[in-house]
């Protein structure tokens, strides 16, 4: 199997290198063929791995490829840990990536950077696979930052746009704030376990449960709590949790295919994956879990609100992504790790579908992204319309659709949880269902139904997008509908994550769910009468009323609730605050240090000051050497007089 794992990693990397270094020689079609072959190979091999591990139940593989470094006898290695969790992530990542590769042929058709784009997305696939397949923290961090690098390159893909190159720098720096915590977390792991290998660390973890550290003198904190919170700060950066979420909406400056692949389906879920992978550590710290839970709830609810007031088609979906990432984080917080991974997977399919659908709309609208200038598109682009509707239904959690199973499991799990913060979280995820339904249908109605508000020229040229675009939509729509019903039982209540994800008995909320679970069909039927579905319908009804029946009402509401609208429109003023406090604050501090300390004090006073002082002394003493004999004679006489006076009066 090791060769297969290696092949999965190397095939996309080869594609990326060839397309990147020899893009001009192999041409446009050469570039897309080589990368698509690479990623398709990775996908097919991942299916073999999926069958081998998940279906045939093979034992996890844990092995190293090469030794990166040995320091103090600690072997830092590059290697793979492939178990059921990894296998599911690999299949999801390579499938979405393959769809996005094919879609890109259509979306980037007229772009000058065609080969560069394919090189980047193939490189991303490599980096993401390195991240999920790692068997140690070092390689995890490598993959972690490597996906960040590719994200940086792709957000700034259109490097002439000022907004794009601002957004990519912002994304990298905000992620670096998360990585700052993450790296310290890794250092804490090394300190506690003297190893960075997952197997060693997880095996020794229970022994560390009662260890404490003093970070502030006098206060003993649990070592595991400190470690887990530091690691989670990394996850907050990558998975865009409040308050490190600010980069994700701006990342929409990148081309739409990467919004689907990186900023919705895969990279942003790396944080969720990481916490699930670290479940043996997080389970030791209820405090850390509560932090995770509260942060996730805030993100799930408050980012959802922002989706309601956005007018850019991609930004609405971006805020939806933030909110859904919040749901996954909530699931982690209540120890329902497998529910988080389940939602991660279903979300990957339907959110990639929604983004690619949005991209299809954007192509048809000649790169217009403002939903106020759309409407009535259903009759021009039927495939996009139907698939987008399916994606929307999955997102809001319509019983039977993929998103329903994962989201309802999370809500139930929160309901069953007893840990501090669970009450607030339950409120947040419940209200979030209404909000999700509202902004999703608002988007859907404004884009596909109602009055056609585009200009005449655009309207004339409206037509369905080519097959390279629509085929991936169809292929993604299938799992968006069926994957939930197919996999809920093995993933949540079966043996798939046994031995992979660790849950202590008192946190095991999914066990409560299992008692009431009688098959996927039954779960869906039961869902029809549940409170979440009522909220979904309420959201749908509100959206229909506000944007179809009475389109004049939203404007009136906006005027009535102007202060609230301002807060939402300014996204709670996070950006303004960061810009003023951190960005300008750092520059101002730097200026003061440079002008007054470096240039003023050190150079001005000490260095050049010393030089000036020496010069001044020399200038003064120079006057004494006038060269006139009578000056010297006079000085001698004076000196003699003083000496004599001293001798006489002594």
């Amino acid at each position: 199997m090791q060769n297969i794992y290696l092949g999965i990693i190397l095939a996309p990397l080869m594609g990326a290198l060839i397309a990147g270094l020899f893009g001009r020689k192999i041409g446009r079609s050469g570039a897309h063929w080589i990368t698509i072959i690479g990623v398709a190979t990775a996908f097919l091999l991942s299916l073999i791995v999926l069958r081998h591990h998940v279906l045939s139940g093979a034992a996890p593989y844990n092995g190293s490829i090469y030794t990166w470094m040995i320091v103090e006898g600690i072997r830092l290695e590059v290697g793979f840990l492939v178990d059921n969790l990894t296998a599911i992530m690999m299949a999801t990542v390579t499938f979405v990536s393959l769809m996005v590769h094919i879609y890109t042929i259509g979306y980037m058709h007229d772009d000058d950077g065609y080969q560069r784009f394919f090189s980047y997305i193939a490189l991303f696939t490599f980096a993401m696979l390195m991240l999920v397949m790692s068997n140690n923290f070092l390689q995890l961090f490598f993959g972690w930052e490597a996906v960040g690098l590719v994200s940086y390159l792709l957000i700034g893909f259109w490097y002439k746009r000022e907004s794009a190159i601002f957004a990519n720098m912002k994304a990298f720096l905000v992620n670096r704030v998360g990585d700052f915590g993450f790296l310290l977390g890794i250092a804490a792991v090394l300190m506690a376990f003297n190893s960075l290998d997952y197997a060693d660390v997880f095996a020794a973890a229970p022994l560390m449960a009662s260890m404490t550290v003093q970070i502030i003198p006098g206060a003993d904190w649990s070592l595991m709590t400190v470690t887990c919170i530091l690691l989670f700060i990394g996850a907050m950066g990558k998975s865009a949790q409040v308050p490190l979420h600010v980069w994700l909406p701006d990342s929409m400056e990148g081309p739409t295919p990467i919004s689907a692949l990186i900023h919705a389906a895969t990279m942003v879920t790396a944080g969720i994956f990481m916490v699930a992978r670290m479940s043996p550590l997080f389970e030791l710290s209820p405090t850390a879990l509560s932090v995770v839970l509260v942060i996730g709830s805030i993100t799930a609810l408050f980012m959802g609100f922002l989706g309601i007031v956005q007018n850019d088609i991609k930004r609405v979906i971006a805020y939806s992504t933030l909110s859904q990432l919040g749901y996954m984080t909530v699931a982690l917080g209540v120890s329902a790790y497998s529910a988080a991974i389940f939602h991660l997977m279903t979300h990957a399919f339907f959110k990639a579908l929604l983004f690619l659908g949005a991209g299809s709309v954007i192509i048809a609208m000649h790169h217009e992204q403002d939903i106020r200038k759309m409407g009535g598109l259903w009759k021009y682009m039927p495939i996009t319309w139907v698939t987008f509707l399916l994606g929307t239904l999955a997102l809001i959690g319509t019983p039977g659709f993929a998103g329903f199973y994962s989201k309802d499991s999370i809500i139930e799990a929160v309901h069953a949880s007893q840990i501090p913060g669970a009450g607030f979280a339950y409120f947040a995820v419940m209200l979030g269902v209404f909000v999700t339904s509202l902004y999703s249908f608002r988007l859907y109605f404004l884009v596909f139904h109602g009055k056609e508000r585009m200009d005449h020229h655009t309207q004339e040229h409206l037509h369905e997008t080519p097959a390279v675009v629509t085929v991936p939509l169809i292929l993604l729509a299938i799992p968006s509908v069926v994957i939930g019903a197919m996999t809920i039982e093995p993933l949540l209540f079966g043996e798939v994550f046994k031995g992979v994800i660790m849950v202590t008995p008192e946190h095991n909320v999914l066990e409560h769910l299992a008692e009431h679970f009688h098959g996927a069909m039954n779960f869906a039927l039961h869902g029809l009468t549940g409170l979440p579905f009522i909220l979904v319908l309420a959201g749908f009804g509100s959206a229909w009323y506000l944007y179809m029946a009475r389109p004049d009402v939203p404007e009136r509401i906006r005027q009535l609730a102007a202060p609230v609208y301002d807060i939402l429109d300014n996204k709670y003023y996070f950006d303004q605050f960061y810009q003023r406090f951190f960005a300008r604050g750092s520059c101002e501090t730097g200026t003061v240090l440079w002008k007054y300390v470096d240039a003023g004090l050190i150079d001005g006073l000490l260095v050049n000051g010393t030089a000036r002082w020496v010069g001044w002394v020399a200038a003064v003493t120079r006057h004494l050497q006038s060269g006139y004999l009578y000056h010297y004679a006079f000085a001698m006489i004076i000196g003699l007089l003083i000496l004599l006076t001293w001798f006489v009066t002594r």
């Binding site: 103090e72 490097y159 090394l190």
Partner: protein
Amino acid sequence: MLPELPLLSFVIWFPILGGVAVLFVGDDNPGRARTLALTVAILSFLISIPLYTLFDPATAAMQFQEFAPWIPAFTVNYHLGVDGFSMPLILLTAFMTVLVVIAGWEVVKYRVAQYMAAFLIMEGLMIGVFTALDALLFYVFFEAMLIPMFLIIGIWGGPRRVYATIKFFLYTFIGSVFMLIALIYMYNQANSFEILDFHKLPLSMTEQVLIFFAFVLAFSVKVPMWPVHTWLPDAHVEAPTGGSVILAAITLKIGGYGFLRFALPITPDAANMLDWLIITLSLIAVVYIGLVALIQQDMKKLIAYSSIAHMGFVTLGFFIVFGLYRNTGSLSGAAMGIEGGMVQMVSHGFISGALFLCVGVLYDRVHSRQIKDYGGVVNTMPIFAAFMVLFAMANSGLPGTSGFVGEFLVILSSFKANFWIAFLAATTLILGAAYTLWLVKRVIFGEIGNSHVAELKDVSTREIVMLSLLAAAVLLLGLWPDPLTSVMHTTVDNLLQHVIVTKL
């Protein structure tokens, strides 16, 4: 190659004699001077390779030793030898000199032979510094090295070169004078100038503290550490590209090397007592200098400040051992700090060298170092932009590049000693990325900024060769640092065992 050959003398004197030969070719014949210089530089690098391949990583003893009496009256000897600290730095020196010769190929038109000769002679002297086992011999190389650099900045430098050279010279000279006094003092005690004898020399606390401060003065200026760093931005700004590369890549490392060879083993108790001072200054370098780098308008100044910040990790890694030992009672994690500092030195040699070469590439075309004179360079120089982004990422410490390895190890090590030291050191993840990527954003990305940028020609084959060599080095060291660290394990352990034993 037989170990009996005086290999170290070869790697010192071959470039020096080659440099003299280049001088004799003369400035009238630039083509031949260049070819000869390149041949000498490449051969020097090739003859330094056996130092790695024949090196025995299992012993902490000095290897490839050479010994001859020099001034018998004062028992001064021509004693050379290398261990796991000096050997990698010799290879780095020889490698970077090749690049500097290539970098100056068509660009330097004024006194070509002298320019090339200065760098070759400089190479020999710097290798001399790394190999000398006799303190006086070390001092001679240490001071002699100033002369070619003084000339390089003074002759081929920018408009304020006189100010910069004097500042550079006085700073380093004043620092090293105190070291000379300390060396002579210890000579009187030990009756020998052997550095290894100094290591064993018993010294009282007062003596140690005074000697320690003498070393700190000499080496902190070289590193440079805050607050004796202000010569560096000026020197870099005025130096020609090659001068900046050597200055950043090698001469700064001599400061770090000095701490390992002199300050730590000779005055371990003073270092133990005063480690807080060095650590504080190192953290100031990371945080304060990082903030100062952020607002620089001159590309070279920005990279110069970034160098200071990165060198802060070197001194931090070297001095974390004491706090670690005091707090935990074991040496676990200490080797990580020192090896991290060493890797950071080599890596910074590549990365800062590469960034200065990148600035040189732009300067040769536009004749400005100001960030505002650029913008959108990627539009006209896509290949160059790819290199620049790679090196910028390495400078930000991206895993997979060499810039990550050293910082990672030092942060891991300092976390064991004290959470807050690690916390402050780790801010480099944010600050380092901020100043580097902001530079990239303003210079490389965006719409074409002005007519100069619109007319830029992408990198030539010569420049591609030069940048590719560095890119390969940066990636190789990042993806597989083991070949570098494995040669220093024994030396590091030996040093650690030595420094925790008190001399009192």
